[in-house]
Symmetry: C2
DNA sequence: ACAAAAGTGTTTCATATACACCCATGT
DNA sequence: ACATGGGTGTATATGAAACACTTTTGT
């Protein structure tokens, strides 16, 4: 292949992650503040240029770690953004990923996060984003909604033990809908992903709720 | 962005199309014979390098036209292939598309096709393909199956008039399943995409079949 | 009359939705 | 005792799959 042809000289590939969590009923996304030109100081999705010697998925993991300090399993590819002039300085194509992380892990990583330029934003209060990242976020949220009942996303979203009303609230936050308590329980149990721990969780002023966990042997 | 950093110098973006048709019950894919090194003479998917000044989708349309002479509407993006060493001479990421074309149009374009290096192959008799194109084809076929009942794919797959048994056979070929005649008819009509023409098609030895067409005002 | 393929309608099942009552807790 | 939220079972609607008989044509 000709690398000198100016028609395709100087192209680059970016990987971008939309990482979501649910914090007390609020869906949040992880953004980082740019610390170099162009658009210095603007918020953007964590990500960056793919290296020549790494697979696409590995590049995403590396960029996410470098920019935010987080290691998030089960990232999922969800889109390609390839308008000619989306990045005005160079011809970049962005491959977009999304992933989720439980609030439990978010808190555990909080110290790491503070030392980087990353912050969680409610998806209803997203600041102006660099390049076309607003469009990318919107698309990632759609893809998250589509995949939310699949096991890898589900298991990433919760810590070891959880109650059904708890995860129902998370689902309702993400999907923006309300579920009937009984039907939600039925649906979740029919997925065969979770099992009773025979423990209960107590919250003040409420009847204790059963604790569930993900089944180890899945299939 | 630094363009001199050797970590990401010399990357490129490829677009690739898996174009399918159904010819007398056989699902076929359009392949082109490479006419330059590396892998000169091998069969591959039509596609090539994206130009710097064109949108991704436009690049795909252009490459398909250049390599095969075909203009195919409703190409759909379906995957990204980004292993580090998938193209051994350079770091290329491939964005894969799929599309379908009716047998009627295929015949109309036959003369164009003959002058290019393109040929239709049954998906059960695909020759060894360049790079990772076999994997890309496999993935594209999956995506085709998933999207086969959506209106844009469906309308691309048939000419103006068609009978229900006819399109049932096409579906059965692509999906590799059998449908009950009555249930298939019910499903297809319930999509609200087609309407009766009040004409019939005659084939020897068979009862004449009703001809349908796509509804113009869709929605 | 028979074989081959086209046309039609009803029953059955599975899945999703709607819905009402009792229970445990803190005030 | 009451307000709040958790736990359970049944009835209904909706969509998918199963299924049998009649019609048209060529031989």
């Amino acid at each position: 292949m000709e690398t000198k042809n100016p028609k395709y000289r100087g192209q680059g590939i970016h990987v971008m992650a939309s990482i979501f969590t649910v914090d007390h009923g609020v869906v949040k996304i992880l953004l980082v503040k740019r610390n170099m030109e162009p658009l210095d100081g603007m918020w953007s999705l964590p990500g960056g240029a793919l290296y020549n010697d790494e697979d696409l998925d590995d590049g995403m993991d590396r960029e996410l770690l470098e920019k935010t300090g987080l290691i998030i399993p089960n990232l999922r590819q969800c889109g390609v953004f390839g308008k000619a002039h989306r990045a005005f300085c160079m011809r970049m194509v962005a491959i977009s990923y999304f992933g989720v992380i439980s609030q439990f892990k978010v808190e555990h990583f909080n110290s790491t996060l503070k030392s980087s330029n990353a912050r969680w934003f409610s998806i209803h209060q997203i600041p102006p984003l660099a390049y076309d990242h607003e469009e990318i976020v919107k698309d990632a949220l759609e893809k998250l909604k589509e995949g939310i009942f699949e096991s890898d996303i589900l298991t990433s979203l919760f810590s070891e033990k959880f109650t059904l009303p708890e995860i129902q609230r998370v689902y309702e936050s993400i999907l923006g809908t309300k579920y009937d308590r009984r039907n939600f329980r039925k649906k979740m149990l029919s997925l065969d992903l979770i099992e009773d721990t025979f423990e209960t969780a107590r919250f003040e002023g409420r009847k204790p709720a059963k604790l569930y966990r993900f089944r180890k042997e899945n299939k």
